[in-house]
Amino acid sequence: MSQSMPDTQAKSAPATSSADGRKVLVEVTDLKKHFPIKSGILFQREVAAVKAVDGVSFKIYEGETLGLVGESGCGKSTTGRTILQLYQPTSGSVKFDGQEITDLKGNALRRMRRKMQMVFQDPYASLNPRMSVGRIVAEPLVVHNIGTKKEREERVAELLELVGLNPYFVRRYPHEFSGGQRQRIGLARSLALNPKFIVADEPISALDVSIQAQVVNLLEKLQNELGLTYLFIAHDLSMVRHLCDRVAVMYLGKVVEIAESEELYTNPLHPYTQALLSAVPVPDPVVEETRQRIILKGDVPSPINPPKGCNFNTRCPVSVDVCFDQDPELVEILPDHWVACHRVI
């Protein structure tokens, strides 16, 4: 039996709410994802682990966009994928709409997947080159056995229109499209099941600057129209400021600072955030003139062997003894402004 098409307005389940009444849609607590490194010819033993995500906690409120920024390799993508249960978390919990999803299996997990989707970074690798656009966008419906063939076709046309593509394109293949158009196709696919939550993993990094703004605008438009919640992964801080309500900064598998977007940009507290922001050009020429770049010394340590104490202590300009000994907790220094640093009090 095929199921009916997803409603545009999804029923809301009981949810945990924060103190100020905003509803928490996704709650991540002490999430860890370690990739084992194995060695051995026939019987492999685990010799070490890449600690890609090493104890991450944050909340995403319904309808907001949480930015996740950090250098390449700090574990942003892994965090996004582990939240979506594309990777089995090593430990920790992910609650969606109040429901624990890390222990879901089989059909329960499949049902949960309808509510959370992903948009990928590489518009060339994220679409199967052997499938027509129509089949790509309809795939979620086919997998979940939703609607008849005709209903699916109608839904695909509707979705293509929604992301600003001509519905006439259904018979075409991905290679006939530009990067921006492909990203829209990917977006249409992720919207097919009417999800509430979308992890956008650097959806604009691979695009031309001129097209980036178009895609960002489309994401905002869709958020307003469909009430979507985003986890927006980026390494470009300027785009994040424009798009995100709150921003979490990651370093070597850990979140070092979370705050409202404006607050973070005007009052960065963690030395790593300060260094990141000092690298962002400012549009005001007077300010730009006096902008001091903080150049961090050294490289990011290997996630296989993170330093003892604070992760950042090898590069931190203000580190003291305690930083080499104890791992700082993420604490709420100011209202809604969380920092993990011994030097910030």
Binding site: I41, L42, Q44, R81, L84, L86, L109, R110, R113, R114, Q117, M118, F120, Q121, D122, A125, S126, L127, N128, P129, R130, M131, S132, E139, P140, V143, H144, R172, Y173, H175, E176, G186, R189, S190, L193
Partner: protein, 380 residues
């Protein structure tokens, strides 16, 4: 330019149509050498499939053509010589005047005469039917043997390629997709088998099969063994050849398939399918297979000449097809069997040309397919 009357104008939609298949065909067409190769192969396939037809039409010697596999096969050789004297020849469908008119090897006539009741003094003026390319020491027409030999070579090529593709693909898919310990164990097995000297192994297997066949030749074997043996006999020894070729040749394919699976498994479109909730079956059949099949078919096409050469080589040293089954390799071995390379070197010409033409065609076809199917090779 004037458009032919009644010709339908190509619609704009049709012109712009671009599917992976149409694109591949467009790219393939651009490579003239592979187009020629494809045409050659189609012709060779056609001739091979319709081989009995040619003999019936009278182009070839009906007896030695159509019956080539059976008449001279020592196993099947009738105990009573069916053609004891020239008179009985007339009763056969060979007509009364079987004349010899080979341009290539008139001397083979000498050996033929007694066995197959040719006229002691050939009358070249009356050419009723002829051995256009001469005959072998058993009196079998060279041309019809060449045509029947195409059946052997092509079936070895196609069956070898198909078997190795199917086995290698399944093995590589399982190993690459499920990964972990399964992958590790499966790949160690492949590594181990890779160390085998392939040709020696195939030869040993053929020696073993021949031995088994000889042992059971007289005893009336029942059951599976008997069935396999008789099937092999009916196939002129090809069954065992297929098995011997198939035992090791899937290994390279399994490695390639695994490598491709590994590279596609991590692609974001596979991740996207997983994020949507697609199961393993769907990911394998909808997302992985269509993408890895192209490159694997290319590799397999390029491997076909190897299978054909192996068969020719085995038949040449007498370990391939059963004696009497026409095969290019066996034909070439006539040079050796007759003794005297220089006096018999013309024998090499026809089977060698056929062999080279076929293998070269497969090579060029593979090149063209690679340009057309393997996206990584595009533009090179």
């Amino acid at each position: 330019m004037a458009v032919a009357e009644g010709a339908e104008p190509i619609s704009l939609e049709e012109q712009q149509r671009s599917t992976p298949f149409l694109d591949a065909w467009r790219l393939f067409r651009r490579n003239k050498a592979s187009l020629v190769a494809l045409t050659t192969l189609i012709i060779i396939f056609f001739i091979a499939i319709t081989a009995p037809l040619w003999t019936r039409v009278g182009l070839l010697d009906a007896r030695t053509g159509a019956q080539a596999r059976h008449t001279v096969n020592p196993v099947n050789l009738p105990s009573v010589d069916p053609y004891p004297d020239p008179g009985s020849c007339a009763r056969d469908n060979l007509n009364s005047n079987p004349y010899w008119c080979s341009w290539l090897s008139p001397e083979s006539l000498v050996t033929v005469q007694n066995k197959y009741c040719f006229r002691p003094e050939p009358d070249y003026s009356q050419k009723q039917w002829c051995y256009v390319l001469g005959g072998d020491s058993n009196g079998k027409d060279w041309l019809s043997q060449t045509i029947y030999g195409a059946q052997v070579s092509l079936s070895v090529g196609v069956v070898g390629a198909t078997m190795s593709l199917i086995v290698g693909l399944i093995y590589g898919l399982v190993s690459g997709y499920y990964g972990g310990r399964i992958d590790n164990v499966m790949m160690r097995i492949v590594d181990f088998m890779y160390g085998f000297p392939t040709l020696v192994f195939i030869i040993l297997m053929q020696v073993y099969f021949t031995e088994v066949a000889r042992q059971y030749q007289d005893t009336d074997q029942q059951g599976i063994a008997g069935f396999v043996l008789s099937l092999n006999k009916d196939m002129g020894g090809l069954l065992f050849l297929f098995i011997a070729l198939g035992v090791l040749n899937w290994i390279g394919m399994a490695r390639q398939a695994r490598g491709l699976v590994l590279s596609y498994r991590e692609k974001e479109f596979v991740e996207a399918a997983r994020a949507v909730g697609a199961n393993n079956r769907r990911i394998i059949f909808v997302h992985l297979l269509p993408n890895i099949l192209g490159p694997l078919i290319v590799l397999e096409t390029l491997a076909i000449p190897g299978y054909i050469f192996t068969e020719a080589f085995l038949s040449f040293i007498g370990l391939g097809v059963q004696p009497g089954t026409p095969s290019w390799g066996a034909m070439i071995s006539e040079v050796r069997d007759r003794g005297g390379f220089f006096s018999n070197r013309h024998i090499l010409l026809v089977p060698s040309i056929a062999l080279v033409l076929t293998t070269l065609s497969f090579n060029f076809l593979g090149d063209g397919l690679r340009d057309a199917l393997d996206p990584r090779m595009r533009g090179t």
